[in-house]
Homo-oligomer: 458 residues x 2
């Protein structure tokens, strides 16, 4: 049997077979096969079969069983609303009650207020309180992504007692691989891993073997900071405390992977001037709707370039040769600006660039821009001299290109730093924006120089 | 004591104090404080103090203790060579022996051949064999990032026996939270989590409670695929098998986080035309050296634009107004190309776009490009009509812009798909490259149309 397995999860089970059992109403066979699957595969199947067959799934699975699926599933934001509307409200409310609080909150966050309220009304007040607490935390903070299902013990428990708590909590806790130690006031005082527990003597006091230097985060910390810490320390989970150092929850590594992925692809999309990256299911109209706002905004910004050039129309009419090099100069300066921008945004996102290293990095970019500007400038003078036999045009284009590269490099790093300083997300200074801005400045520099030195031109 | 803690790891310990103990040669106090730190903080301290003080650290810590630091530390590629040269070779070899094989291989991979050989000669032949096996796997495959330190038991062991194996292996294994079940020929046949073990009766046979549908990967699988699977399934570790289904190692979630981070920032840098993103320590000369190759290559590509425009010099001389809109058209089409490119590269990287959905996605992009082209085109006709009072120029610019956006969008998605098809990394089709390519085509379309319809222009 083992040999038949392979790593394509789709082939780990027969989708058609499962679907047939649902159509036949063969609940027993369906459940037999379905529960051999990993919840990810269950979720994939559930998502794929379509609303009609899903109705049978709701009959065949308990809300508790459906909860596991919803803890794993990754739907488009608007699909949650759509899928949940297929279910009976009582069934949905019970499912949400069984889910880990953080996952339930993620789902509830996607529903409209009225729909959300209808669930909360039908759920246990204990759970509703917990959910409301999490819903109250600001998005993208540790509080908003933490779960409240963790295992904690008191300082003066023994290893045996702790193992018993673990056994009892194992089915509900999101991770049992760390046990958090708290004092009488539920303040975080230590941590011990299951690894340490199982190799310790059963009568040892937790206090004596726990690690007192617990790296932890606050509920208000940004999720990106939390991700950085977990990545640096290779943690599977990190405790979250409030302002009184009372333990509020934990954040597990699977949520952090989502954060890292999300933030990276967020920076990425913004560098390309997208609100987010489409997937293969996005329709052309929807894709166009996502991309057009930037495109049109940049189009208007581009109009500034055209207006500016209009000021130099006389120069352009006299020396039409000048126009040939406009795309070259604006393109090259745009490219160097995008490079500087990428370095700055990534540096800010990963925390590599902080308050202290800001000036150092700006200075570095000035020198980098200068180096690149001089090299590209000289290169262009040489090329144009041999190509168009004109040292004057060569010098003009070379000078304009050198200065434009310098300016673009500085702008590419200064603008995101400035935006960050102002408290906004530096990634909004997207690549196309910087590129268009550089178009404007480079043309101004080029045609400005040309008009000034026009007398010397042939 | 607890109240004084906070989440800034730098403040969890007094760096100056530790440094003073090293200067004073106070080995006892130093070790007392140093070993209260998490290995990440130990590594940070070790990296910061500089080569002189590190010499004292090598005297104060055993190679085994140093191994833990090197399992956590994240140095620049060339720093490994530099740091290891500070150590006595025998000390270094012993440290490498104590490290998890995958981490030792990561370090050894950064050394030059001679230096690497000098270590391997001094290490135990068992460990050298294991290391050589991992070194033999191609970079970026599951084999190259897996570790060989995992816990496995035979199918017919009991839970008690399995727990005993776990206790024994706990200090060495990279994770003890999954126990892998193998048959007599060491072929992977199941998996059981520590969570399940601790809630099961001690006399139960592993065979009866293990999960037989083990999601696993092959040694030759790409690390990106592995990352995707672990992310989907929320695994803490995944087993790696060879072609005979024999278990070879495991990949743990911390390595996967590094992969996800690395691949995302790789795509990101390439979108900006960078070999990799500089950090704050990169010197201006080094930064310029990284950025110049692309910039100069694109500069030469930009020359094509200038040459092309040269062909239309006559047209430009007659109607200088035309030149005003060149940056606008090439800029907008470049922006839409970059957007399409970002979507395609990210889709390929995350596995969202596969063989089957390729055509569907290309079709989507054609329709998206068409929609955006028509909207932007009409917009431009209207603007130019009111601004320059010329319907002819408006129609010309609008038509050129519409067609350019369509072509750029198709190119932005088709080129990465083509490169991927040819077996190369689609991210090499960087944003600036696509932008420059779009410059060429958009100008060709614009001035081509202008020359053809010149008679109608005023």
């Amino acid at each position: 049997m083992v040999e038949q397995q392979n790593n394509k999860n789709e082939e780990l089970f027969n989708e058609e077979e499962l679907r047939q059992y649902l159509l036949d109403g063969d609940i027993e066979r369906f459940r037999d096969i379905f529960f051999e699957l990993h919840s990810y595969d269950q979720a994939q199947f559930y998502e794929k079969v379509g609303p009609d067959i899903r109705q049978t799934i709701y009959q065949f699975l308990s809300p508790q069983e459906m909860a596991t699926i919803y803890e794993t599933i990754e739907l488009e934001d608007e699909e949650y609303e759509q899928f949940l509307k297929e279910m009976d409200t009582a069934y949905g409310a019970e499912m949400l009650s069984y889910m880990y609080t953080d996952d339930a909150v993620d789902v509830l966050n996607e529903l409209d207020d009225e729909h959300r309220e209808s669930y909360l009304e039908m759920m246990d007040s204990d759970i509703v309180d917990e959910i409301n607490e999490l819903l109250a935390y600001e998005e993208y903070t540790a509080g908003a992504i933490m779960t409240t299902e963790y295992v904690s013990v008191l300082e003066n428990s023994t290893v045996r007692q702790a193992m018993n708590v673990l056994r009892k909590e194992a089915p509900n806790a999101e991770t049992i691989y760390y046990v958090f130690v708290v004092d009488d006031a539920h303040r975080l005082s230590g941590v011990i891993s299951l690894r340490d527990l199982i190799i310790s003597d059963e009568d040892t006091l937790i206090r004596d073997i726990m690690n007192e230097r617990v790296v932890h985060v606050k509920v208000t910390d940004d999720q990106e900071e939390v991700a950085q810490i977990m990545k640096d320390y290779n943690f599977l989970a990190i405790p979250v405390v409030d302002e009184y150092h009372e333990m509020q929850g934990i954040i597990t590594v699977d949520d952090i992977i989502d954060v890292i992925d999300e933030e990276a692809s967020d920076d990425y999309s913004k560098l390309a001037g997208l609100s987010d990256v489409d997937d293969k299911e996005t329709s052309p109209i929807k894709a166009a709707k996502k991309r057009l706002p930037w495109l049109i905004m940049l189009l208007f910004l581009g109009m500034i370039t055209a207006t500016l050039m209009g000021q130099f129309q006389e120069t352009l009419e006299k020396v039409a040769l000048l126009a040939l090099f406009i795309p070259l100069i604006s393109g090259t300066s745009g490219n160097s600006g995008t490079q500087a921008l990428a370095v700055a945004i990534r540096g800010i996102a990963t925390g590599d660039i902080d308050e202290k290293s800001k000036m150092k990095m700006l200075l570095r970019e000035v020198l980098t821009g200068l180096t690149m500007g001089i090299i590209c400038g000289i290169l262009v003078v040489v090329i144009i001299f041999f190509w168009k036999q004109s040292l004057e045009v060569g010098l003009l284009v070379g000078a304009a290109m050198g200065v434009s590269i310098l300016v673009a490099t500085i702008a590419g790093s200064f603008i995101p730093l400035l935006i960050h300083k102002l408290g906004a997300d530096p990634a909004v200074a997207s690549g196309p924006f910087i590129t268009t801005l550089n178009d404007v400045t480079s043309i101004l520099i080029y045609l400005g120089l040309a008009t000034t030195f026009l007398g010397q031109l042939n």
